[in-house]
Symmetry: D2
Subunit: 358 residues, 4 copies
């Protein structure tokens, strides 16, 4: 089950330390200009090794398009993209070959499949998210054509919450922080975790601007349910809310309903979604990430022979996985919205006539 | 898009005030005893009109099985279930014919489809969840065969949180509250909202016991992503977390990792899921619901002609939609787990040999 | 796996002698006038008991719409249709309870599922095709909006082939024969088979007129592959060809290629499909049906205890199942084309802009 | 729509003269030995340039596995395979840049997408079938584990039909002919077509041996309907039959029914499928292919400006596309059967217990 989406549908492959990772993006409408530089620039945003606050692993993450683009434009055929792995220090992982790292997928993959590529987490490695970012970049190109823009930022690191939501600031923040005044404390929280050979959690907020009303396919392919699906599937994600989500639960209906006026909604508690369909307002979602399970302190675990062991992990890992997840969240939101935009085209018989009547 | 699930797959139909609602459940393995009384008893748990704390609307919600069952057992063919609508007071809804109720799907359905069955919310009514409960009951029968049991309860109403998680208590609580000591305050919160013609939010916790290790199909049909999909698609759901979800974000890795020992995990911060696959521990999820948008205070809105209006809703509505959502959450979790159990059967070549070698 | 189609998607349920059969049609664009009389008239064309040349079983086949239509129009929500079974002479089938009828699905259902509803063939009965015809009628209503019309006729009974292809004649022919001069011999072939307690095969030709160029989603949802899928799935279908199919195999490329001119194609050997996509010409397909396996002569078989037996079937059966399959073939072609028309709407970025730009 | 299959699911990408073609195979059970040499040997069977009777184009068709295999075994994660294009003589195709070749997909791709990669047919080239053969080889490895074997052969070239069905002979025949006595005439028919700058049609027969009873998922994922889907989707395929298909249509039921005895079926008119489910006998299908549309005689057509033109194609093409389609037909049959074997695992509640009960 390595595909996501219905009309805009991508399928990924690849393990952390295999030959390559990549994806096939299917369902891209023909005639779209495929800006390769933009795709690469999105990948660069996710790329590790850019600061002391992310993993020291160095990957060029150079994407190569193998198909589906002709003379700079999409042809309606599948777009395959591949990223060859170049920094495969497999020896780093020899020591975890027979160990189930706590908080990791080692134990579950082993039990489900009876075999696992232990090198760097194999398929369960967050490295796979590079393929999502590549597919998400294509989705963003589609969305641009209909005026939709997506922005994400870090709004929490450990207990340090952002108070401002400044996407412009986030763009240049080394940790994608949404808040100038919180950034230094957030950085400190990461550094402190790193220093004690530990890791720390965080949260990401994503917003889509310019979303047309009508996106979402109720009842079982709602915009919010698919966003939840998309976000919760990202490595280390543990919670998702739409709009005021959790706060809504504490409110009265009279507080939480967004009054509708001629110029739109008076508030946006709903996060731009009603009945699983976009209402024309900004679509807002928040995603919480657990701390990276990869820590360098001694931990108790089992080995594959079923014996209890003590061990301390070595290697290179992000102290706060949420940081690099910002662009992944944006990508997944773009993919969901592009898919919904394509699906919505058959919602009315009038659209059908518009397309088929000359 | 009115189907959910891949191998255990159900498709629902029906509007609040149409002739009937119902579902087709596809993929039920043959030879399963279909306990109709159990299915009906699950529907009875969801049925409105059972106390002053839920809507006064009275529906027998009598389910009828039309196919797929022969001499009490499933035959492997689709099981169609129908519930005829009996209490269709459509006149209650005449006054909202041309109005977009704030917080409702009226506005988005109208804009997406250009037409809507306004009677009782039509397709967007929570009445459709009866079909989910029926399908969920069948899923529970499958799960029972492999020792899986699911329990849900209310853990929050407005600002009143439960401190205990007592499923036995919840079973007999009029509001499905998980906590004897919090129940009365929770009830009071609902009654107070009702008295002021308002509504109030709430939260539900669901747990699955006895889940085998190995359920979940990474990377895009993970157990947690599909639970998020399933829960967020329920009417009025606005947030979902798995395990310690939001709290995890504030922790260090050393606090959040669940140590693995010979007798299982030392803790269950993960909510029983690692890498999108069940780890054999209890699967835990929490769902937050917004207050019912249907309130009887005056609100500002638009009519279908685009004019601003003031209006006060009439009719019969749940003051706290989360209460009756408990059994719906259980149903959706059962559906996801049954689907995952079927999907997982082809995970190993050994299973294939087990089935095909005599 | 009881669903067909991707965007226009229907799911059927029901056994021959259960309470009801029916379907849910999902993906119908909103705003379509749902002509119930037309749907019923299509079902009437398939209905048994209309002449001595089809089964004597009498079913009113009265269809009831349960959802998805409001004030005569589709609302974009699933359209559920149900046909209650009224002529369930289950006693007719008591004698086949423990017998595997040769040529029937009895043996395979029993072995696959370990249980079967033996009454009238249960789920494997051709009675289920009524649900397809109902769904097909809705598909025809969609196609009508974009100028597509579908016609079918019998072109062979046993060894008696039609020479003419006169759809107007077929419309009034008691056996849907396409050829006035062949009809009486075709009828005689059926009657002769019937007289000797036997059955006979036949073939159906279907054509779609007015199909826009561009329908079909290569490479794995091609128009021709999905037509083959749709036709071969009809009860008793054993072969399918597109255009000149089998004859093409005997030709040279210079004979078989259709020259392209300003006014269209000079010939239509291709059957209106090139590379899996409609070329704007008529779409032509032929389907061969085996003789009904239900015959009243003595046959050799096994019972469910594994003993060899001799038995002669009783009951009411079509001597030539192809006759009533004409409208089923039309329905399946309509369903495929409607699905393709919806899918094709996202083929070009220009269409996207057309729909989303005001 | 570039994916095929539900549980064994492959997705292909690539154009004839792009950088590469390939596929992602998803759903391969873990623990299967992946014999790379076998996969390559299957590709070699399809590879062009092996005799004067197929295209002179030379491609090494060297397959490279990028993921999903660890220490020689499948891990349950997606297996990506890529074949880099090495013999891209794009200049050969400059002259068809603005021309719609009769019988080709040029016209339909252009009209559907508004853009096409004209080099060598782009996505519509039969070159893509290499990806199917690679995926099919993996499917064959799965099937081998449960004792299923698949064989194919040419049974007709132009008007020259095989009388024998000798798969051993076919294995060594330069044209995969099933009949020693017909082979030379079949070869002559191809050479004669080639000499006159023409092409010729042909037919392929495929058989699966050792298929367990019970494969096929009625009603809309039947074994026969999916075989029809799979075969009709192959380039140039125009007709498909199962078992005695077309002949059945001319028979009486008493002739066509396969009597069931203790030792199996007395005959196999059905082609091993009843009610869409395998009956344990050999599964038999025949596929008819049109002559390659690529011929070197002068033809009438249109250019992209809508002007009528005369032109003669240059380049390298198979005079009889059916020859190299034999291994493609085998691959598609293997893919369908592997998928069905996985799907069937959830048909009975007993299988579920077998897998989940220790």
């Amino acid at each position: 089950m390595n595909s996501f989406g219905l009309r805009f549908r991508f399928t990924t492959f690849g393990e952390s330390h295999g030959k390559a990772i990549g994806c096939i993006v299917d369902g891209v409408p023909a005639g779209l200009e495929i800006d390769e530089e933009f795709i690469q620039s999105e990948l660069n945003r996710r790329r590790p090794g850019q600061s002391s606050l992310t993993t020291a692993r160095k990957e060029a993450d150079k994407v190569e398009i193998l198909s589906g683009v002709f003379e700079g434009k999409s042809t309606g055929t599948p777009i395959a993209m591949v990223i060859f792995n170049t920094d495969q220090k497999s020896r780093d992982y020899g020591n975890i070959k027979d160990i189930f790292r706590p908080g990791h997928a080692d134990f579950t993959y082993w039990n489900k499949y009876g075999i696992r590529d232990y090198r760097g987490g194999g398929r369960s490695s967050a490295r796979e998210t590079a393929a999502r970012v590549a597919a998400g970049a294509v989705a963003k190109l589609i969305l641009k054509e209909i005026g939709v823009d997506i922005k994400g930022a870090i709004v929490q690191v450990g207990k340090v919450e952002s108070k401002e939501l400044d996407f412009d600031f986030a763009k240049n923040s080394i940790i994608n922080s949404s808040d100038k005044s919180a950034e230094s404390n957030q950085i400190e929280a990461i550094e402190s975790a790193k220093k004690s050979h530990d890791s720390i959690g965080g949260a990401v907020l994503v917003k889509a601007f310019g979303v047309p009303v009508g996106l979402g396919e109720p009842l079982y392919h709602k915009l919010d349910s698919q966003l939840a699906n998309a976000f919760m599937g990202i490595n280390a994600a543990k919670a998702v809310e739409i709009g005021d989500g959790i706060d809504s639960c504490e409110r009265f209906g009279s507080e939480n309903n967004d009054a509708i006026g001629k110029d739109g909604f008076a508030s946006n508690h709903s996060g731009g979604i009603l009945g699983g369909i976009s209402n024309g307002d900004e679509v807002v979602a928040k995603v919480w990430f657990k701390p990276t399970p990869s820590i360098f302190q001694e931990q108790t675990s089992l080995n594959t022979s079923g014996e209890e062991i003590k061990y301390a992990l070595k290697g290179r890992h992000d102290p706060c996985v949420a940081i690099r997840a910002v662009v992944v969240c944006e990508a997944m939101m773009a993919i969901v919205l592009a898919d919904m935009a394509l699906l919505n085209m058959s919602s009315k018989i009038d659209y059908l006539k518009k397309v088929y009547t000359k």
